[in-house]
Symmetry: C2
Subunit: 245 residues, 2 copies
DNA sequence: AGCTCTGGCTTGTTTGTACAAGTTCGCCTA
DNA sequence: TAGGCGAACTTGTACAAACAAGCCAGAGCT
């Protein structure tokens, strides 16, 4: 662990513990540098990390202030339903309901950087939290990863983790589109809600470290089961609003 | 504009223009430093900006790669419906349907850092895109900003901008919770949809530069009108999934 | 009392240097 | 031909120094 990560971790703990309550001022960079025997630049990297997490805010000339004290999860926990569920103390389970190969559609070819007509793997999964069905996942995997996906246990808990352990695949980058849709008849049946009832939809495309697209997915959460949370500031915000399509 | 922002802007333009297509490698830091006659540290700040926007990805030892080419909007455009709409080429309008003062509830007192029972301003607004109603905003303003809000034109297009111009208020930080809900009867009537149809809900709390909460709001978008988009990576992601509440 | 202004404090930007750690690719060998 | 090895390249981390720019409180003035 890098020095600046240690410092960030230490400060984060202090904030979560309540040493610096919401609204309080953080020590100045100079003081922190002295306290941790580090250069000012290193301290700045640490607090930049906390700022990116939305825990502290800063303005030129004024001391940094604490904005929040909730610890935010890692990328892995956002990407992987199972890892997120586990970290929240839920028991996650899932079932593959169907899995078949087919040629990709033109729009999928674009999103997954495939040749038109190249083969993809289409998987329908139902995910549960503590036994309750909360999520229908319709995922399209690029052909080159399909064999590894097909080898997975249909009841496999964490696809992300299994793929990492079996073929060393790392999901590194993702783009997510979030909106609301009405439950179709299949959604309704699987999630045990009425047809037309509101679902939170997350469409995503995930790529490897090298920027190679792996999968795109249409995930639908039962209303009330899951909420997305974003902290942002004038400095940095990756969340954008888009016109409906 | 700082040097690193200029460099970032230049690189961003090149990416958007297609000089560096998706999947392509960016020049090395050393080469960029030479090209822009800047120190390597300055170049690193520039590409860090692009990485935070999700435009490029990076791994130690390998060249940076281009992940996307869409320009993401600024915080102001996320926060302000009107500014976002304008930047997307839509015509935004809005109407205040009701506005009244009342004592705050216990939960509001916590979220807005108020004394229990302190007065707040409750505003119901309907927002339109190109004349079509797409958003119902139920906003609660802290008492200290209420007078300035009440002075606003009921048809005021951009509340954010007006408050900045009239009292110098800057919305600097925000926390957003996103989920899906069914339209209530009032929602349905205002948005011209059927009761129970899906809406995308964004609950937010916004604070000033000093960390002082200004408003909390419950915004409901008609399904299909607006999508939220997030790019993230293993390095940084402010978006988190939360259990429903 | 209320106002202005200034000086010190704090964060922001930039440059330079050095080394650590991971990737890539060509060369050499078995 | 397949595999291993290593050199060159590239990004990550850390330190030091200097100046710019913005904030704030206290001194001093009206």
């Amino acid at each position: 662990m890098a020095r600046y990560e240690q410092i960030a971790s230490d400060l984060r703990d202090a904030i979560v513990r309540g040493d610096y309550p919401i609204g309080a001022q953080l020590p100045s960079e100079a003081e922190l540098a002295l306290r941790y025997s580090a250069a000012r630049g290193t301290v700045r990297q640490a607090v930049a990390l906390l700022a990116a997490e939305g825990l502290v805010g800063s303005r030129q000339g004024a001391r940094r202030i604490v904005l929040g004290s909730e610890r935010s999860q890692s990328f892995a926990e956002l990407h992987s339903f199972a890892q997120w569920a586990r970290s929240m103390g839920y028991r996650a389970s899932g079932t593959v309901l169907s899995s078949r190969r087919r040629p990709c559609s033109p729009s999928e070819a674009v999103r997954l950087s495939l040749e038109p007509g190249e083969e993809v793997l289409d998987v329908l999964r139902l995910r549960r939290l503590d036994g309750e069905p909360v999520l229908v996942e319709r995922t399209v995997y690029a052909g080159w990863i399909a064999p590894a996906v097909e080898r997975l246990d249909p009841e496999c808990e964490s696809v992300t983790q299994e793929l990492y352990e079996s073929v060393g695949l790392v999901f590194a980058y993702g783009e997510h589109l979030i909106d609301a849709v009405a439950a179709g008849s299949e959604d309704a049946r699987l999630l045990d809600v009425r047809r037309g009832s509101p679902l939170l939809r997350q469409r995503r495309v995930t790529t490897t470290q090298e920027g190679r697209p792996v999968e795109c997915s249409d995930d639908r959460y039962r209303a009330g089961s899951v909420t997305f949370s974003i902290r942002n500031s004038t400095a940095a915000n990756p969340l954008v609003r888009r016109a409906g399509d």
